[in-house]
């Protein structure tokens, strides 16, 4: 995706003018080639010395629907097909802190992901899955502290040692205010909760990654590739500062911060973005924050998705797009890949579409040679020049945030939301005018072409009722006194400004519901009031 301003000028999405030819002189003029080896700071060529020779990327498709039992069945299907990690989708009530029987959950239970009310749902969803072999990523943000507590409690009950438990929670609330929208509490207490999870995991589950900072959704909301990464770093710095303010040592948690980036767009721009991003993040953590352990400066990432690159028009084209996006992620040195499925523009992916995405990634490993050598585009005059230029653009995006008073303020005031949404509008206009080319949308459109039939994942009324019934049974079986006492302890901790994770661990073990725990915290912290700025 390259914007042609006029026939003689080519400019990429991040605003860098692309030359007809790159030579050694261009690399030198842009700052030269960084000769560090992969596995050595600043990790431009990769965070590991051997990269995919040692282990290919983790394949972790986004899955989850209806209830825990159905989701568990799909998990087993994907694992049987060679998937090596799980990426859990939650339904909207769970993401927004409502129980399945609340009025807010009307029509939404199990619709876009798995419904979770209590620890019981986690026990069912992960039944029979070896958590030491399959790493689990929880795509949860507003309710992340609760769901992390549930995951840790579930693992503990099944006898896994938390000291060695791996896994990830998305838990990036700042980007939820910019795009995606599953916030609950106001900005400042939300950031405080992220710091609580970082602090708790550093002490009790040191291999668990409590936060995956997402440029992904900010890009989906309208930001360009360099801004995507710059804004993500500004967000990661906000969490880092909050954790440091607790007295944590940078090396106690920085190595467990992970990232989630988007991969649609111009291949070379994307590869340069990731190379530049690795270098910049290492400089931020190792130089700016003074971390001693080189691993603290690793930009560990899931690179994938590409949802906004997919189109509802000529949807089969999305299979080809997905293959190019996976190629981009592989050339970029991603640790984990999750590929949007070709039907994802209009439905929750079918098993067939999920299998195609999985096979797409496996093709790169088995047939196309993407795991043979590290950073295969390193040394290209074009890619090296662009890497240097993208790093400058990333820094410029971070500078813009700093000029707004930092990410917490930029989000609280709606400044970044307004900026990104203005870009989304400009982009939509350029798509409709045809200045930004999109195959099947504004070029190569065939006469009399029919819009594909949208197959919505049917709303399962019976499944929704079964979830509510299951919740009722848990409420009858649980110890009401312990529920009350644990919720009181949660309230006390929240009011005192203490880390709420120990209280949440106790409450989830008592089978307190997501809604009950959220309500207690809303009483103390309040609810977010969206600043609507255009």
């Amino acid at each position: 995706m390259t914007v042609m301003k006029n026939p003689n000028t080519v400019v990429n999405e991040s605003g860098i003018e692309i030359k007809t030819l790159y030579t050694r002189e261009d690399v030198e003029a842009s700052g030269g080639i960084d000769d560090s080896r992969p596995g050595e700071p600043p990790f431009t060529r990769g965070i590991h010395a051997d990269m995919y020779r040692k282990r290919p990327w983790t394949m972790r498709q986004y899955t989850g629907f209806a209830n825990a039992a159905d989701t568990n069945e799909r998990f087993h299907y994907l694992i049987a097909n060679g998937q090596t990690g799980l990426n859990v989708a939650f339904d909207l009530p769970s993401q927004c802190g409502y129980d399945s029987d609340s009025p807010e959950a009307f029509g939404e239970v199990g619709r876009v992901g798995m419904a979770v009310d209590t620890l019981r749902d986690f026990e069912v969803a992960f039944d029979g899955i070896d958590l030491n072999k399959i790493t689990v990523s929880l795509t949860i943000n507003g309710a992340a502290a609760i769901m992390i507590a549930m995951y840790l409690a579930m693992a503990e009950k099944r006898g896994f040692d938390l000291a060695n438990l791996r896994g990830t929670a998305q838990n990036d609330i700042l980007k939820e205010f910019v795009g995606r929208g599953t916030w609950i509490f106001p900005v400042e207490p939300s950031v405080k909760l992220v710091a609580d999870t970082i602090e708790y995991c550093a002490a009790h589950a040191p291999k668990y990654s409590p936060v995956s900072v997402c440029g992904y959704h900010i890009r989906e909301s309208g930001a360009d590739p360099a801004e995507e990464m710059g804004y993500a770093f500004a967000i990661a710095k906000a969490y880092t500062d909050a954790a440091l303010a607790r007295g944590l040592d940078i090396d106690a948690f920085a190595g467990r911060l992970s990232f989630n980036f988007n991969i649609f767009g111009n291949l070379f721009e994307q590869v340069a973005k990731f190379r530049a991003g690795r270098r910049r993040w290492a400089r931020i953590i190792l130089d700016e924050y003074g971390a001693k352990d080189p691993k603290s400066g690793w930009l560990r990432m899931i690179a994938g998705g590409g949802g906004s690159g997919l189109t509802i028009e000529q949807p089969e084209n999305n299979i080809s797009r997905g293959a190019y996006y996976a190629l981009i992620a592989a050339l970029s040195g991603a640790q984990t890949m999750a590929l949007c499925c070709y039907d994802e523009a209009y439905t929750i992916p079918t098993p067939k579409a999920q299998r195609i995405s999985l096979r797409t990634m496996q093709l790169l490993i088995e047939e196309i040679g993407l795991t043979d050598t590290v950073d295969p585009l390193g040394g290209s005059y074009y890619v090296e020049t662009l890497t240097n230029q993208m790093e400058e653009k990333i820094v410029a995006a971070m500078d813009w945030v700093a000029e707004q008073g930092g990410m917490v303020r930029a989000v609280s005031e709606g400044l970044i939301q307004a900026r990104v949404s203005a870009q989304a509008y400009a982009h939509q206009r350029s798509l409709e005018e045809g200045t930004f080319r999109k195959v099947g949308v504004n070029c190569y459109v065939e006469e009399g072409e029919e819009r594909p039939e949208v197959e919505l994942h049917g709303y399962d009324e019976a499944g929704s009722k079964a979830q509510v019934d299951a919740l009722r049974r848990v409420k009858i079986e649980r110890d009401d006194h312990e529920v009350e006492a644990s919720l009181d302890a949660l309230r006390t901790a929240a009011q005192a400004g203490d880390n709420v994770m120990p209280a949440l661990m106790r409450a989830v073990k008592a089978y307190a519901t997501v809604g009950e725990m959220t309500d207690v915290m809303v009483d103390v912290y309040g609810r977010y009031d969206e600043p609507l700025r255009f």
């Binding site: 009307f106 939404e108 939820e176 795009g179 203005a422 509008y425």
Partner: protein, 135 residues
């Protein structure tokens, strides 16, 4: 055109009912309608049908436009229909956009939603539809 319309701009409420957090499209439409010279009120995320009907009444809008990407458009539109009728807003132009299968178009039309704009609809088509149907 009624006298009321010649005196003031077309007023549009763009609203996000339910828990769906996808607001890129809704915000893009808000900007397009504002650029077209309409007076646009945006609800923000996660509004109940009750809140949306109350805003439509209080703001005395000509157009109520809903954006739903989660697939819950039919139940939400059904609930809002009753509330809009109770609020005496049955004569206003109701529209809905989002991830909407073709087969739901008829259901939504019967509920009174005259404009249905699925994903990939063009901004100018939305603007023109409002110009042609607000009388």
């Amino acid at each position: 055109m009624s006298e009321r319309q010649t005196e003031k701009k077309i007023r549009v409420l763009i609203a996000k009912p339910g828990l769906d957090g996808h607001d890129v499209g809704a915000k893009v439409v808000v900007r397009a309608l504002a650029d077209a010279g309409f007076e646009v009120i945006y609800s923000g995320l996660r509004k109940t049908p009750e809140q949306i009907a109350a805003a439509a009444r209080d703001e005395d809008v000509d157009v109520v436009g809903l954006s739903v990407l989660s697939g819950s458009h039919v139940p939400l539109c059904r609930r809002l229909r009753d509330l809009l009728m109770d609020a005496g807003l049955g004569d206003r132009l109701w529209m809905v956009g989002g991830n909407i299968p073709e087969e739901d178009r008829a259901v939504l039309g019967q509920l009174g939603y005259r404009g249905v704009f699925p994903t990939s609809a063009k901004l100018d088509d939305i603007v023109n539809f409002i110009r042609e149907n607000v009388t």
